[in-house]
Every structure is written in structure tokens, then in C-alpha cells.
């Protein structure tokens, strides 16, 4: 006669355990997809931006190939930074036949809410080789201050 000891049985058989396992598996799957597409397709408005934070400043970078300094307009109002500009093309000669046209021209406008308060007087923007770098100094109120610890 088969003997089943009480301790051999699972302590509590959860009928939903299997569903929970499937759900976790799906979660993991979707997570790995997100990681693969990291940094892509997340921006909806041109240009795509990268924002970095340092102790005393914010750095915003964007790739703007073919945009001239004169055609780029940056403004800051409160905690909103607005980037506007356009990309012009001139080739319109007669007798030109295109094999490929992947580069678009047109205008763009993007406003971003800055994550911290910045000092509007200390904004520095640089456009070099098609890369825009905006450096914004944080407002003194949010800049971390070192506190000295002394012993008695």
C-alpha cells in the first residue's frame, strides 16, 4: 500500500500559481524587448534629445545635422526650454535625378520641461559638427552644498 506522508504534500496548493508563473515569464519577455530597443523610438518629436545631470548643471545634447547656427533658435522661459529651427536644402538644379532620398528637410520645434530649476542667465549652447550641446547651470537653490562635518 502506497504511503503518502503528510509532509510530502505541498503545504498549500495555489490554483493560481501556474498563471502567476506565466505572467512573470511574459513580464520578463517584455522587459528584454524594452532593453533591446533602448534609446530608440522613444522620442516622438524631432530632435531626439539626451539629457544628463551633473551636480551643478544639466547637459542636453541633440544631433542636428545640416542645421546652421543662424537657423537654430533656443529660448528658455521658466522651466521650459524651447528648441526651434529648420533644415534647408538647396539642390534644385535641373537635370538632377535622385537615386535615394533619405534626408528630410523642414522645420522643427520642441519644448521640454526641465527637471530642475535652472539659472536662466547661465545657459550656454554650442553647435559643432551637427551636435548641439546646451549647458544649463542649476539654480543656486538646488545646487547641492557640501556640509562640513566637524568633531568637537
Amino acid at each position: 500500500m502506497a504511503f503518502i506522508r503528510f509532509t510530502d504534500r505541498p503545504a498549500f496548493r495555489n490554483p493560481w500559481a501556474e498563471f502567476e508563473r506565466i505572467r512573470q515569464g511574459l513580464d520578463e519577455l517584455s522587459r528584454s524587448y524594452v532593453e533591446k530597443g533602448k534609446g530608440q523610438g522613444r522620442a516622438n518629436v524631432y530632435p531626439a534629445l539626451n539629457i544628463y545631470e551633473e551636480a551643478d548643471r544639466l547637459l542636453i545634447t541633440a544631433e542636428l545635422p545640416g542645421v546652421k547656427v543662424a537657423d537654430l533658435d533656443l529660448s528658455i522661459e521658466g522651466e521650459t526650454l524651447t528648441l526651434q529651427g529648420k533644415r534647408d536644402r538647396r539642390q534644385n538644379e535641373a537635370g538632377v535625378s535622385y537615386h535615394r532620398r533619405e534626408i528630410e528637410s523642414g522645420s522643427f520645434s520642441r519644448a521640454i520641461a526641465l527637471p530642475v530649476k535652472v539659472d536662466p542667465e547661465q545657459v550656454n549652447a554650442r553647435l559643432a559638427n551637427g551636435i548641439l550641446t546646451v549647458t544649463l547651470a542649476k539654480a543656486s537653490a538646488v545646487t547641492p552644498r557640501q556640509i562640513k562635518v566637524t568633531t568637537e
Binding site: 522620442a43 534629445l49 538632377v96 535615394r100 551636435i131
Partner: protein
């Protein structure tokens, strides 16, 4: 606004011939290619590349455009990352006969323009036939 609004174009990864030991991305730059009577022009968007980083070659009718950029350490903490930076690589087969000696390239605002002049075909010589 009468003009068209710019849209974000997805950056496609380019596959170099062999794998790189460094974990650095290589993207295929977006290009415009057009042809006129005298030349073929290739315009490529390569933001972040300086003149020193450009490598061009035309071998066996294959035009290779390579752009190396100095990838710097990301400063501080990332708050938002919508694009990745990397090197650029793209290859084309050029069907026309190109005058290798006169290939010219320029880089302005992160946009590379390569001009490939076509070789002028030999003028057909007229042979006069005289009577007599």
C-alpha cells in the same frame, strides 16, 4: 508653417564586415544620392564626426563611407536617452565609371558631401571617307 515638419528617423545599425572588439555601435547614415550629367553626389548625415574621422574609399566600384567619432564618456547621470551615438558606416556599389582622381568631399555641420565625377567617355571620332 508651410514647411514640412522634421520627423525622427530611426537610426539603423550598420554591420561592419567583422565584429568589433569594442562595444561601440555603428550606424548607417541617412543618405541622399543624386546624379547629374557630370557627377554622382552622395550626401550623408554624420553628426559628431570631424574631418579627421572621415574615411572614404572607392575600390572595385564599392564606395565605403566611414566616420569615426570620439565617443566621450557620458557626463553625470542620464535623465533621458532618446538616441545613441556611434560610428558611421555605409557601402554602396557605384554603377557609373568614376574618375578616381577627382573625387572631392566636404564636411559641413555634420553633413558629408562626396562628389564622384564621371569619367568623360572618349569622344567618338569621325572618320571621313574620301572618294578617289
Amino acid at each position: 508653417m508651410t514647411e514640412q515638419e522634421l520627423k525622427i528617423q530611426e537610426k539603423k545599425a550598420a554591420q561592419p564586415g567583422d565584429e568589433n572588439t569594442k562595444n561601440e555601435c555603428c550606424f548607417a547614415p541617412h543618405v541622399d544620392i543624386y546624379e547629374t550629367e557630370r557627377e554622382v553626389a552622395v550626401i550623408a548625415d554624420m553628426p559628431g564626426v570631424t574631418v579627421e574621422g572621415i574615411e572614404l574609399s572607392l575600390e572595385d566600384n564599392i564606395l565605403t563611407i566611414q566616420g569615426h567619432r570620439v565617443l566621450q564618456q557620458q557626463p553625470g547621470r542620464i535623465l533621458l536617452e532618446e538616441y545613441e551615438s556611434g560610428h558611421y558606416l555605409r557601402r554602396f556599389t557605384v554603377a557609373e565609371t568614376i574618375d578616381q582622381e577627382r573625387i572631392a568631399a566636404s564636411l559641413v555641420d555634420g553633413v558629408l558631401t562626396v562628389r564622384l565625377p564621371k569619367t568623360i567617355p572618349a569622344q567618338p571620332r569621325k572618320i571621313e571617307v574620301r572618294l578617289g
